[in-house]
């Protein structure tokens, strides 16, 4: 290896690394490049289209922050359901762990928004400015008319795409059709304007300029992921046993005679690398597992009539010719945890009661004595119908049949309606002294499974010494 002695001086427009640290990755085609294109279309397709699709008359995914309601695929999540969202986040994290342990940085190479949006920005760049050679030449040339035109065309396309991204992002929080109309009529609110611009700007900066620097310097997952690795995790690796000693050769050279391995040292694997590393130096934390080096090396191997896979998805065990295991304690633990949390979440979500009721004591008065040895306590019943249908409700006292209930209005709530109803409980003195707990059951008339138990703390007079 001539690493130390390589000054990396620019020669023939190739090694511009030291002088110009900007990385111009060579374009790759091949199996994994195709996979990434599919991932980009699917993921960005979901991102840009989902808000426009309605389910049951509601936007399919809408996080309505002011109303504190989340609509996700026809389900409505209320503030008190936030535990499901927390569980959802935990399952997402565990899924990441699981796949990292199984197949390394799949997330980084194919699914991370950073990768996905960077890919689109590079498509735009390539479309406007041409391939790697042309881009490097253009960057180094004087500001000719063509350069100004191409550069500004790229910027315009980037900004438009970023703005559309920002607009869609806000569309997940504010109904996107109204948002679109608002943009048409220049009547967006200040918050919507701010977040559209902010998120658009973030997309532009991250995907247009920062690119893989985000992965190298800013991403915590890139630093943590090695903790989930073991010797059976799929990694992208150069087969040094097969490749070394590397060196240039003609196609029909006898390798034994020349004393060479299969690596022809064309350095194409370095030139396609978006993070600018040499995969032949071994596993490095900068590697985002995009598999561009695999694609390009396979093509070189094809050209040389060598078998493919000098750089390939493999495991440390496989490289050392040891027995590998797909199922291992780490996988089982992550998998089991994932299974338990996901099934628990699903069970909880399908079994939640779409009714919420809280009884809040009137703060102003303790109690009132009424004729007929009755004691009156006043409450406000805050009741929420979390169902998608209207319901009439019955309210009954469970633990004392002689308690009378007097309500300011009958219990009828429209879908997703919240009401505050004044409730008076008239309790006979014989029920006890001091604080008494009255159990109230609220039940939908048309569906007994929708019911809720609320406990009312009732104040009763203390009769010291008498009776």
């Amino acid at each position: 290896m001539s690493k130390k002695s390589s000054p990396g001086l620019p020669e023939a427009g190739e090694s511009l690394y030291r002088k110009e640290p900007k990385i111009y990755p060579r374009q790759v085609t091949g199996r994994f490049a195709r996979l990434r294109v599919i991932a980009v279309w699917v993921l960005l397709g979901l991102y840009y289209l989902l808000p426009w699709i309605n389910i049951n008359g509601k936007q399919s995914v809408l996080f309505d922050l002011p109303a504190r309601k989340f609509y996700i695929f026809g389900l409505t999540f209320w503030p008190q359901d936030f535990v499901y969202l927390a569980l959802l986040m935990i399952s997402a994290g565990l899924t990441l762990f699981f796949f990292t342990a199984l197949a390394g940085r799949l997330w980084c190479g194919f699914a991370c928004p950073q990768t996905v949006w960077t890919e689109v920005f590079i498509w735009i760049e390539r479309w406007v400015e041409g391939d790697r050679q042309k881009r490097m030449k253009l960057d180094n040339s004087a500001w000719t008319k063509e350069k100004i035109l191409r550069k500004s065309a790229k910027q315009v396309l980037w900004v438009l795409f970023a703005a559309w991204t920002g607009f869609t992002f806000v569309g997940f929080f504010s109904p996107i059709r109204e948002l679109g109309a608002g943009i048409m009529h220049f009547s967006l609110g200040p918050w919507e304007t701010f977040w559209t611009i902010f998120y658009g700007f973030a997309t532009y900066g991250n995907a247009g300029f920062l690119r893989e620097q985000v992965c190298k310097y800013m991403c915590p997952y890139a630093r943590f992921q090695s903790a989930m690795f073991d010797k059976d995790t799929l990694i992208i690796s150069y087969d040094a046993d097969r490749g070394e000693p590397r060196g240039g050769r003609r196609k029909n050279d006898d390798l034994n005679e020349k004393g060479l391995g299969d690596c022809i040292n064309c350095t194409l694997c370095v030139q396609v690398c978006p993070t600018g590393i040499d995969i032949r130096d071994g596993l490095q934390y900068e590697c985002i597992a995009c598999a561009a080096c695999i694609d390009v090396c396979d093509q070189v191997m094809d050209k040389m009539d060598y078998p493919r896979g000098l750089v390939r998805y493999t495991t440390e065990h496989a490289l050392k010719h040891k027995q590998g295991h797909v199922v291992r304690p780490r996988i089982i633990v992550y998998g089991l945890l994932l299974l338990i949390i996901i099934s628990g979440t699903l069970w909880g979500m399908t079994h939640r009661v779409p009714l919420r009721a809280d009884l809040i004591r009137d703060r102003n008065a303790l109690y009132r004595e009424l004729p007929g040895d009755l004691i009156e306590n006043v409450y406000t019943l805050k009741i929420t119908n979390m169902d998608n249908a209207p319901h009439h409700y019955d309210i009954t006292v469970l633990n004392n049949e002689s308690v009378e209930i007097d309500m300011s209005s009958p219990l009828f709530l429209q879908a997703e309606e919240v009401q505050g109803i004044s409730v008076r409980l008239r309790i006979p003195k014989s029920a006890g002294q001091g604080v008494q707990t009255i159990d109230l059951q609220i039940q939908a008339k048309d569906d007994p499974s929708i019911n809720k138990l609320v406990k009312a703390k009732a104040m009763m007079p203390l009769n010291f010494g008498s009776q």
Binding site: S2, K3, K4, S6, G8, E11, A12, E14, S15, Y17, R18, P21, R26, Q27, W78, P79, Q80, F82, D131, R132, Q133, K216, Y217, M218, P220, R223, G247, G248, R249, R250, K251, I264, N265, C266, T267, L268, V270, Q271, V272, G276, I277, D278, D281, V296, Q299, V300, K303, M304, I360
Partner: protein, 120 residues
């Protein structure tokens, strides 16, 4: 020259310094945050707006508020230190403390059978 690894009396190791700084600065940040938040927010109002099934008293609210801010600050400053400590060494952009960039050459140089036109 071999580095002397014996600790010097009265000097903390880098790890201890990191932890001490993270905890203390997060604590200060959480204090300021708690002051500001509860200066403008009435804790009693929390009870009506509270969505969790248990009731929250004012002392518990203050404690939870502080604890929450403390934990968030701890996570932020801890991660920051972690990212800086585990990242590339100082000066690596200028080639110091980090291996030099990989050598790049034209694929055709020593391999006359390759055609660069195949890779744009």
């Amino acid at each position: 020259m071999k580095k002397d690894k014996r600790p010097i009396a009265g000097r903390w190791s880098r790890q201890k310094r990191d932890i001490g700084t993270i905890v203390w600065i997060s604590f200060l940040a959480a204090c300021i945050g708690t002051f500001v938040i509860f200066a403008v927010m009435d804790v009693d109002a929390l009870n009506d707006a509270w969505v969790l099934p248990w009731e929250i008293g004012s002392r518990l609210a203050y404690s939870l508020g502080f604890l929450f801010l403390f934990i968030v600050s701890l996570i932020a400053s801890g991660l920051t230190v972690f990212m800086i400590r585990t990242g590339p060494r100082r000066g690596h952009a200028r080639g110091k403390g980090h291996p030099p960039p990989p050598e790049i050459r034209s694929p055709e140089d020593d391999n006359p059978d390759l055609d660069l036109g195949d890779w744009k």
